[in-house]
């Protein structure tokens, strides 16, 4: 006679359900990856042909409508400058906003208002931010098209992403660390600068990189603020510039194969730049992490 222990083998129906759900999850994963992989594949396949030194070092100046050759040097310069300017505006403002929300506001009315408008800003379509800068900066203030105007438009898009990411990361810093610092007689602002921000540093960098990646591919706001040019303009504060998204947009709508090839290569370059920036951010966080110094 066997003693009833209540321990039984897994029933066949449960095994079957497990297998079915497992299959569904794999299927969903595959479906989600298909577009990503196919886009990457298409861009690499079509873009690699023109991905050469000429493309990276020449502009489109004096390249005729049917000519091959030419490149995106002017667009690469423009994108880098515009994104850098946008980051220089959006990251400090966003970070300070997040510090205020987490460390100083204690859930007051102002904090709720700021939170609300950050949420609203997250939902602003990119073309609207471009229109705003076009109306305000370019037309009303009469500043004209420039890379800086594009940077302003992009910074509007970046700011809410930076605020949200930094806020999340600052909230993850344990309260005990702040108390430990206070208990050593460290003033609050030094606690934030020397303890809280370094602890959240890795996460904040990741958040900033996501924001950069988001705005680097924006086309609509740049079209309205940076305009389009075929020449190299290294000065982001005067005159129209180019950007890689604009370059892709411009070349892709031209009716000949050489231009479309340039558009594909422009897209490839943009992807590579964003990946490179991500890699740099990873290196920075790795270099800053205590685990590395411990080795």
């Amino acid at each position: 006679m066997t003693v009833e222990t209540g321990i039984r083998p897994i029933s066949g129906s449960r095994r079957a359900k497990d297998k079915i759900v497992q299959g569904l999850v794999y299927l969903a994963f595959a479906l989600a990856v298909i577009p990503l992989v196919s886009v990457l594949w298409l861009v690499v396949k079509n873009g690699i042909g023109r991905f050469d030194l000429t493309f990276l070092t020449h502009s489109m100046r004096n390249i005729g409508a049917r000519d091959a050759g030419g490149g995106a040097y002017h667009a690469i310069i423009g994108t880098l400058e515009q994104v850098l300017l946008a980051s220089l505006i959006a990251v400090p403002v966003g970070l300070l906003t997040a510090v205020y929300l987490v460390e100083y506001s204690s859930g007051g009315r102002l904090a709720r208002v700021i939170s609300f408008f950050v949420d609203v800003m997250t939902g602003v379509p990119s073309v609207v931010s471009g229109l705003f800068i076009l109306a305000f900066w370019v037309l009303v203030l009469g500043q004209g098209y420039s890379g800086f105007a594009g940077g302003l438009a992009l910074s509007i898009l970046m700011m809410p992403v930076v605020v949200r990411a930094a806020e999340e990361m600052l909230r993850l810093v344990p309260h005990e660390l702040r108390e430990a610092s206070y208990a050593l007689g460290v003033p609050k602002w030094r606690t934030i600068v020397k303890v809280v921000l370094p602890t959240a540093f890795t996460g904040i960098v990741t958040g900033v990189m996501l924001a950069v990646a988001r705005v680097a591919g924006e086309t609509a706001p740049l079209l309205l603020t940076v305009f389009i040019t075929d020449s190299i303009n290294t000065d982001p504060f005067s005159g129209p510039q180019m950007g890689l998204p604009l370059f892709v947009f411009d070349q892709a709508q031209r009716p000949n194969v050489t231009a479309v090839d340039r558009a594909w290569t422009g897209a490839l370059t943009l992807i590579l730049i964003v990946m490179l920036l991500n890699l740099v951010a990873r290196l920075i966080t790795w270099w800053r992490s205590p685990a590395k110094r411990g080795s």
Partner: protein
């Protein structure tokens, strides 16, 4: 170095909730004072009022007087930051700064407060780590992260960090409750050494620990859940544990309640 603390009729609130009420006591210099009592009776809250850490929590406030050698810590012109520099604190859970090395953790209070030369820092860090009985264990890896130490070592690191700024009083909020018996013993030994130089106040749930390390013991209790905690009695530790004046103290110590 060590100084006397005098508390007069102190109340502490969390928002509208009164957590402790009417506490008066004198904490002697160069001695260990233990606070015991059931959970939620306000021991830790009271401890945190002694170096103005209570008000760090939003909505928390304090009424009454705390004097350190005649100086009112809650005077209107007193900088709470300077109070905390004078009265250090060790917390229940070890909380080394995760981004800093062992050396930087100990030097944190100095580095964040002023300018010290590298050699000054090195000598203070060594002295503090020796003071916390940790020097021999970590002297070869001062540049490794502090979070990589064991729990007991982390807690001694936090004690080293607290004594590196040369406070006059050291508050300890259940410093051993997250530690194993061997680490606990190490920290108790350390407390006995530190009382040569510091005024030490320790909150503990471990009655044997209070009996072992403290010179005086204060028993806190609360009348009912939701009522403010009060000081029931405070006396020489030997008296509290053998012949307490109050029935409630005896019941708590003998394990009949709490």
């Amino acid at each position: 170095m060590a100084k006397q603390i005098e508390v007069a009729d102190l109340d502490a609130y969390y928002g509208s909730h009164k957590a402790i009420e009417g506490i008066s006591m004198t904490i002697e210099p160069r001695s260990v004072t233990a606070f015991i009592g059931p959970s939620g009776c306000g021991k830790s809250t009271f401890l945190r009022t002694l170096n103005r850490m209570h008000e760090v929590i939003p909505g928390a406030r304090v009424e009454g007087k705390v004097r350190l050698e005649e100086q009112d810590l809650y005077g209107s012109d007193v900088d709470p930051v300077s109070v905390r520099r004078t009265i250090g604190m060790v917390f229940q859970r070890p909380n080394p700064f995760p981004t800093m090395s062992i050396f930087d953790n100990v030097a944190a209070g100095l580095k964040l407060n002023g300018r010290f030369s590298r050699s000054q820092l090195e000598s203070i860090v060594e002295e503090s780590l020796r003071g916390a009985n940790l020097w021999n264990e970590v002297k070869d890896r001062l540049n490794k992260p502090g979070a990589g130490l064991s729990g007991g070592q982390q807690q001694r690191l936090c004690i080293a960090r607290a004594i590196a700024v040369r406070p006059q009083v050291l508050l300890m909020d259940e410093p051993c409750s997250a530690l194993d018996p061997i680490s606990t013993l190490a920290i108790e030994d350390l407390i006995s050494q530190l009382k040569q130089d510091y005024t030490i106040v320790i909150v503990t749930h471990n009655m044997q620990q209070a009996a072992r390390v403290s010179d005086k013991t204060a028993f806190f209790n609360l009348a009912a859940q939701g009522q403010p905690g009060k000081l029931v009695e405070m006396d020489e530790t030997s008296k509290i544990f053998t012949n307490p004046a109050e029935k409630a103290t005896e019941d708590y110590i003998t394990g009949r309640f709490g």
